[in-house]
Each structure stands twice: as structure tokens, then as C-alpha cells.
């Protein structure tokens, strides 16, 4: 973990170069089996004059974050040879803080997927069991942290792309308030839902990294003003916000037939009881089932529509492999036909359908209306509660052959509720809380907009209850 490495570096028990070499060696050793990386960096590079808690610490960046002079593909063939000429703000901040980049991590193509199976360079495997997926889209970042290659990695989250793989990988995944971390240089998927966030192996580490990369940015008008807080220091103060709730319609064990889901929910209710015994007040609250059922379609409509528009810049003309043809239209057509995989094309066609004039009112605008209803209801809940606590997934990571199996409507809600955090821009964190069938499962805590420190603080106290801090794949806490 970062705090331990910091101590070892400060006491000169290890050098930053040694940490880098070790991380690169491990990244290469594990690459064939897990495929965490698109690019592994060979050359040690550090800002010597940096002075931060992250100085000398190795880390990984998702490959949809712009890094000048380093290949950045978004795991898509349409960008397979793209070398950016500018740095994303999050990368610039980490460079200036003296953190050392080890590699660019594999993602679902263009971040549009939740399985980690659609990268142009192949599937990412779960470090806890290589026959299972790790989830996505920030699959490689989750795997690199779960494997212990790096103590932290940066990801992006549009529906649950940090928080779901964190659950499947037994690590911490934190997506702060929308705009808390600049998105300049993040390849846009769905701009009104996109967030940058972090993977770590402890809540404290998530606070440490967020402290370094948050803040306003002249290049991103949606980046928030600095709240002036050190999230790490806030963790050491007494927590006064201890009123939590869970959504009854999602957490009722009797509604499910799958034995692993039942086990997860049983463990979840045990955790709630433990939280109560540690001074938390936890109630069950209701959200209209119709709204909960609408989360997934609302997410699909908004994200596909925005993605269709955002990815119009991928033409193969200024960058990316050039298509063939005798006119600009023909070469664009050819580049896009060859460059996008089938799955991405299917999502884009859906986006195109949604944005047709005759469908805009019924589909796109109605989805935007439902988004408001959901966010309004959640904000109403936040008048009485400091956070909503829910299982981050119904069970451990699925195996590759079962990932496309149909699940019940009830389970669709359980597996997709974290998009609420994107609809409303709420700070939201997943931490490991139990094992089901020897696979880790996370619990998710979502709080009020701007209260990132409180969400982290609540998560820290729950981490103390679960005792699942600092895990790497292979550690068993059954």
C-alpha cells in the first residue's frame, strides 16, 4: 500500500527505481495470463524535484487517458497506433507529484463495456481466478492493483466502470463527485456521466491519490473548484456522519433464487448489523420499483446517444489508421468500418436510433426525464441519510462462459444500480466486504454531491469492520 511504500522510501529501505523495476518485472510476468496492460513502460522516469506523498511510487493509467509520447489506444483498433501529443490533467498532476508510470491498462474498447472482454488486445482475466472475468471497463487497472503490480491505478467510470471491477477484483474503487477530478485528456464516452477515479488496496490510499489529482482545471470547465480539504487528514477526525440506508427493494433476500446472490445478501445484512453495533444508524428505505427497473435502460439510452456523438471524431484522417477510398467520405467509412469492433458498432447504431428525430422525445428525452426522477429521489433520501450502502454486485465475478447468461429482472437492478452515482454525479466507493464461492464481492457506499470526504470516511470505518484491507489476489478470507 502507498503508506507502507512511502515509509520504506523515506527510510531508504528501497529506492524508487527498485520499486519501478519490480513493478515492471511483475507486470511482464503476469501479462500473458491476465492481460492487464496495453503498454508496459520500459524506462524509469520521475520528476526529481517533486515533493509529494506519491513521489517515487509506481502506478498504472487506463489506456483511455492521454499521455504524450506514449501509445494510447483506448483498446480500440481505430486508435491502435495513436500517440498523443498532450497530457491529460490527471497524468500531468501525477507526473508533477513524482509518481512513476508503469503502464497503460487494458479496457473494454473505448470504455464501452462492463466485462473487460472487448479490448482489441484480448480479454482481461480475474487475478482471483483466471477462468473468470474481472469486469470493466477499467479491467486492467483493477487487475494490476489486485495482482499487486502497482499500489494504485487510475480508471474512468461512466456507469460503474471503476466500482464494479473493484468488487470483482477485491480492491477499492473510488469515483468522486462529478468534476472533482478533471476529465481533460480522458477520451470522452458519455460526457454527462464520465468520471475519473482510482483503484487502491485501502480507503486511505484512495484518499491519498484523490488529494493529489483533484482540483480545478482551466482545460475542463466541468472541473470543480477545490474544496480545500485533505481527504487523508479528514479520515483521522471523528466521523460524525453515521446515518446510512440501504434500498429495500434491492436488498430483500426473498426476492432472489440464485444461491450465490442469496449468500451475498445474507452477508450484506450481517455487515449492516455489525455497522449498527459500531454506532452507525442504518435503515431500509424504498425507491419505486419502476424507477429502479428504469436505471439500466436510462443508462443505455443516455450513454449510447452521447457516445455516438463523442466518437464522431474517430475518422482515421488526422490520427488512427487511414481507411481506403477515393473521397474523404469513403476513407472515413472504411476506417470506421475496420476500426470499430462489432460490439461498439451495435452500441453506436443504438445511439443513432435513439437520436433519430422521431425517437428523440420518446427515448432520449424521456431517459433524461427518468434520470432526473431518480436523482431527485436519491437527493430526497440524502436529506435524511449521509450515505446509501448496497452490495456492489450480486455475487463474485462470473466465469467467461456464464457472462452472457440471462439474469432475472430483479438481478438486473442489483447489478446496475451503481449508475445512480453517475446520473447524479454522487461520490461513490466500492470496498471489498466478503467472499462468495471464494471470490471477492464489494460493498458500495454513495453519498451526497461534494461530500467526497464523508463517503471516504464512512468507507474507512466499514473497512475497519470487514478487516479486508490491503488484499491482493490469492489472499483468502473465506
Amino acid at each position: 500500500m502507498i503508506t507502507e511504500l512511502r515509509k520504506e522510501l523515506d527510510e531508504a529501505k528501497v529506492s524508487s527505481e527498485e520499486l519501478f523495476e519490480e513493478a515492471v518485472k511483475k507486470a511482464k510476468q503476469e501479462q500473458d495470463k491476465y492481460n492487464s496492460f496495453v503498454t508496459i513502460i520500459d524506462k524509469y522516469k520521475i520528476k526529481r524535484r517533486a515533493d509529494s506523498i506519491l513521489k517515487g511510487i509506481p502506478y498504472a493509467l487506463k489506456d483511455n487517458i492521454s499521455t504524450s509520447n506514449i501509445l494510447t489506444t483506448a483498446s480500440s483498433n481505430i486508435l491502435k497506433d495513436y500517440v498523443p501529443v498532450y497530457d491529460a490533467t490527471v497524468y500531468r498532476k501525477l507526473k508533477n507529484a513524482g509518481a512513476v508510470l508503469v503502464g497503460k491498462t487494458t479496457l473494454d474498447e473505448l470504455a464501452m463495456g462492463g466485462t473487460g472482454t472487448t479490448a482489441a488486445t484480448g480479454v482481461v482475466r480475474n487475478p482471483w481466478d483466471s477462468n473468470r472475468l474481472i469486469g470493466g471497463s477499467s479491467a486492467g487497472s483493477a487487475a494490476a492493483v489486485a495482482l499487486g503490480i502497482v499500489p494504485f491505478a487510475i480508471g474512468s467510470d461512466t456507469g460503474d466502470s471503476i466500482r464494479k471491477p473493484a468488487s470483482f477484483g477485491g480492491v477499492v474503487g473510488f469515483k468522486p463527485t462529478y468534476g472533482r477530478i478533471s476529465r481533460y485528456g480522458l477520451f470522452a464516452f458519455a460526457s454527462s456521466l464520465d468520471h475519473v477515479g482510482v483503484f487502491t488496496r485501502s480507503v486511505e490510499d484512495a484518499a491519498i491519490v484523490t488529494d493529489v489529482i483533484k482540483g480545478p482545471d482551466g482545460y475542463d470547465m466541468t472541473a470543480l473548484k477545490d474544496d480545500g480539504k485533505s481527504y487523508k487528514n479528514e479520515l483521522n477526525k471523528p466521523l460524525t456522519h453515521k446515518k446510512l440506508c440501504y434500498i429495500k427493494e434491492i436488498c430483500d433476500v426473498n426476492e432472489y433464487k440464485d444461491s450465490e446472490v442469496i449468500k451475498t445478501l445474507t452477508e450484506f445484512h450481517k455487515l449492516i448489523d455489525e455497522c449498527k453495533s459500531k454506532g452507525f444508524e442504518v435503515d431500509g428505505v424504498s425507491i419505486d420499483k419502476k424507477l429502479l427497473e428504469a436505471i439500466y435502460p436510462t443508462y443505455m439510452i443516455i450513454s449510447c446517444a452521447e457516445a455516438t456523438s463523442n466518437n464522431a471524431n474517430l475518422t482515421g484522417i488526422q490520427f488512427g489508421p487511414r481507411g481506403e477510398g477515393n473521397s474523404i467520405d469513403e476513407i472515413m467509412f472504411s476506417a470506421r468500418t475496420k476500426g470499430f469492433s462489432e460490439l461498439i458498432k451495435r452500441r453506436f447504431v443504438l445511439g443513432s436510433y435513439i437520436l433519430q428525430k422521431e425517437n428523440q422525445e420518446k427515448l432520449f428525452l424521456n431517459a433524461c426525464r427518468v434520470r432526473r426522477l431518480i436523482v431527485d429521489r436519491v437527493n430526497e433520501i440524502f436529506k435524511d441519510y449521509d450515505g446509501i450502502i448496497l452490495p456492489a454486485s450480486g455475487k463474485g465475478a462470473p466465469s467467461f462462459d456464464k457472462s452472457s447468461e440471462q439474469v432475472s429482472d430483479q438481478q438486473v437492478i442489483l447489478e446496475n444500480h451503481m449508475a445512480i452515482g453517475n446520473f447524479g454525479g454522487f461520490p461513490s466507493i466500492t470496498i471489498p466486504f466478503t467472499f462468495v464461492n471464494e471470490m471477492p464481492v464489494g460493498v458500495n457506499i454513495t453519498g451526497r454531491v461534494m461530500e467526497d470526504d464523508i463517503v471516504l470516511h464512512i468507507a474507512k470505518e466499514i473497512e475497519d469492520i470487514t478487516g479486508l484491507k490491503g488484499m491482493k489476489a490469492g489472499d483468502r478470507h473465506v
Binding site: 482551466g218 464522431a312 475518422t315 467509412f333 470506421r336 447504431v349
Partner: protein, 97 residues
Amino acid sequence: MIEKDKLKEYAKKLMFDMNEEEYETLQKEFDVILRQMDIIDKIPNLHEVEPMTFPFLLKDRSLRDDEVGDYLTVGEVLANTKHQVNDQVKVPKVVEE
């Protein structure tokens, strides 16, 4: 079921094509997706709600000062294309002879 020709039309508007098998998969997928989307229609009085296009209202927004900042050089702009002429990206002739 949505017509395959319609799907082809939508794909072509986005400037790509798929093969017949892929269109058939998409056609079946559309059926499922459209059923999912019907869930939204079941929510009452939606027309009274203002569509939400951003997570929350950003207050105190001000534009940054209009100062010259970092900018890309011509070499940087052209760094990712082999097709260039006279410091510009080269494309096929637009105006036909």
C-alpha cells in the same frame, strides 16, 4: 421486429458498415433493448419532468481569462498522420475535376 434495412441506414449515417451476420445479431438485440426501453414508458407523468442533461447545477461558473496558453505546433498536429503535404493533412480531392 425492427427492419434490417433500417439498421443499415442508421449504421451508414454513422459512417460504418457491418456484415449480414452482424446485422442479424443486432436485429435480435434490438428486440430485447426496445423491450427494456418500454420500461421507461411505464413511468407516469413523465412529460411534466424537465429532462436532466447534467448531474447537478454548477454554480459560480466563470470563464477563464482569454490568455494565450500552450498550443500545439504544426509538427505535433501532424504527428499522427503519414498523409501530409505542405504542413497540412492530405485527403483526396474534394472538388471534382
